[in-house]
Amino acid sequence: MSSVAAFSKASPFDALQRWLPKLVLAPSMFIVLVGFYGYILWTFVLSFTNSTFLPTYKWVGLAQYARLFDNDRWWVASKNLAVFGGMFIAITLVIGVTLAVFLDQRIRREGFIRTIYLYPMALSMIVTGTAWKWLLNPGMGLDKLLRDWGWEGFRLDWLIDPDRVVYCLVIAAVWQASGFIMAMFLAGLRGVDQSIIRAAQIDGASLPRIYWKVVLPSLRPVFFSAVMILAHIAIKSFDLVAAMTAGGPGYSSDLPAMFMYSFTFSRGQMGVGSASAILMLGAILAIIVPYLYSELRAKRND
């Protein structure tokens, strides 16, 4: 064993250099730990208290959750979320994929067309909601337009129909997001190995069949991402409801995000509001945890 020489001492400047990365990251670490996880925990705690207009820390166990589940409005909001989310995701996907496949056929002025499909994504949901509220206005909007154009029996009064108002939200949300889904799938299609398509053509498959059987199945990851993003948008949807219907008529177009806002900030039911926020978090986790898990596993297999 040769003697091990002592390390030469590093200068103070070097020591600072060694700490710099940690120092630079420290504020963000603090923000994330407190502002993300600390606050979630705080909300979690509030959901077990009888807080109303102001936070009080009197423990009431699961009482707020019980009140939430007894609340008809919460069930309407949850049911609306299921209907809105399901239809929004399905329709957006169908439109997005169709437009992407069509646009992938060496279309002239593709860039221009893409720009048109995608511009709603740049708008605020409030602007979208305002526009569609006007378009769907019973008596003055599309309702009147189509009658003016000669469709005498046309009626479009969904915006004031408690049973159909949620479809109005679907229409506006699809208009806003479908161009984005189109862009995602178009990018995916551009990434598909062209030799696969050529090989299938040599095998004698028709173009629609090639897309259906070969190309689209290879876009499974894009499909998953798209569903995840859309579900995420649906659960967080708040601005659109606020601008288009404010939850009405009555509370027939409420979504959980709207419910949470009005109970917490308008009706002074902080405990119930917190409980509903925690349930929303649970819904998001139920979607992203399996997604992240499969993503990470796929990466490990690489």
Binding site: V4, A5, A6, F7, S8, K9, A10, D14
Partner: protein
């Protein structure tokens, strides 16, 4: 220029993890060209990063000019490095790339200009100085990367597989050029490669590494002719050394290896003779160029007849494959005597050049009598397994 010495260097990425570097001992003199060679994952690049100070060692000492630098940050070690990817700063021009280190070190403007001019002239990149790296060919980028290293006139130059991103032809050209440059500048250099030809052609000293351990440290000639173990013997040389597993026998008091080509048998007398070798499973190593066609003037050498199974003409030589015992054996013959497939050849060996390895541990057995004594330098390090 400087000397470099590694004393018992160890590196591990954490308790419980296997050692990345284990008891590395080597030293080179001023102006020497050291090659670190080995398969990927052998620790050669880690060792280089440790010398540069980009990674910390967990034990031992790195001495530059007899001064321990292992606690110093990279910038204080006075080292320059050329990377496999060249790592040229993409937003800076060639001139700015070369100047960068000098500016950081606050060298006066006039000196910087002078230094850039010197390096550009040396590497013939004067016409490229105002271009961005993205506008250069691979070979030109390589030169700029070297220029950046040369400009600082550091004590030690490190090269991390600098030629491996070049195409085959350019790689050979640049290899020669690097050798010329080193002969002129006499810079102390550490050069990492996985290419054994680069190792043989460029190095004054070669360290063959595997699993974080130096398998052998010596001159290229020692490594080639006198490999410390089976790994070194198989790693260095192209086409690789032939290995024939067999059991040594004693007949009439002489130690023999029995070779069988299917057509004939041959008793190959061993030039070394230790009592322990008898009846032992060994691997017999023979380089392809040491199997030659039998000729009249080499009478007394052992010969064997064998059928040609495959021939591979490479141009300067033709590689001929025959079956000996269980092994496919490659012989390197002159193209003009190259036989046809199916033909039977009479081959001849020089028993003095045969190497023996332990079949289990891969360690060299006996000592080859083939080498002149003075060629087996004393500082050949052979590290036995744990």
């Amino acid at each position: 220029m400087a000397t470099l010495e590694l004393r018992n260097v160890n590196k591990t990425y954490g308790a419980g993890l296997p050692d990345t570097l284990k008891n590395i001992e080597l030293s080179i003199k001023e102006g020497e060209f050291l090659i670190l060679v080995g398969p990927s994952g052998c620790g050669k690049s880690t060792l280089m990063n440790c010398i540069a100070g980009l990674e910390n060692i967990t034990g031992g000492a790195i001495m530059i000019d007899d001064q321990d630098v292992s606690g110093l940050s990279p910038k204080d070690r006075d080292i320059a490095m050329v990377f496999q990817s060249y790592a040229l700063y993409p937003t800076m021009s060639v001139r700015e790339n070369i100047e960068f280190g000098l500016k950081i070190r606050k060298m006066p403007r006039a000196d910087i200009d002078e230094e850039v001019a010197r390096v550009a002239k040396l590497l013939q990149i004067e016409h490229l100085l105002n271009r961005k790296p993205g506008q250069l060919s691979g070979g030109q980028q390589q030169r700029v990367a070297m220029g950046r290293a040369l400009a600082r006139r550091p004590k030690i130059y490190l090269f991390d597989e600098p030629l491996s991103n070049l195409d085959a032809k350019l790689r050979v050209e640049m290899r020669t050029e690097m050798k010329l440059m080193h002969q002129r500048l006499k810079t102390t250099t550490v050069y990492v490669t996985h290419d054994q030809i680069e190792a043989m052609t460029l190095g004054d000293k070669v360290a063959v590494m595997k699993d974080g351990i130096i398998q052998q440290f010596g001159t290229p000639k020692q490594i080639y002719n006198d490999p410390a173990n089976l790994f070194v013997a198989s790693f260095i040389g192209s086409p690789p050394m032939n290995f024939i597993p067999l059991r040594l026998q004693r007949k009439d008091g002489r130690l023999l290896a029995l070779l069988d080509s299917g057509q004939a048998r041959c008793e190959l007398p061993m030039s070394m003779d230790d009592a322990g070798l008898e009846d032992r499973e060994v691997i017999l190593g023979l380089r392809p160029e040491q199997i030659v066609l039998a000729s009249a003037d080499a009478a007394g050498m052992p010969t064997i007849r064998a059928e040609v199974q495959v021939t591979e003409p490479t141009g300067p030589d033709t590689l001929v494959f025959v079956q000996l015992n269980e092994a496919k054996v490659c012989c390197r013959l002159a193209p003009d005597v190259a036989p046809q497939v199916g033909e039977t050849l009479t081959l001849q060996f020089d028993p003095a050049k045969v190497l023996l390895f332990d079949a289990k541990t891969g360690e060299r057995l006996g000592t080859a009598a083939s080498l002149p004594v003075q060629d087996r330098a004393d500082n050949v390090t052979r590290i036995k397994g744990r």
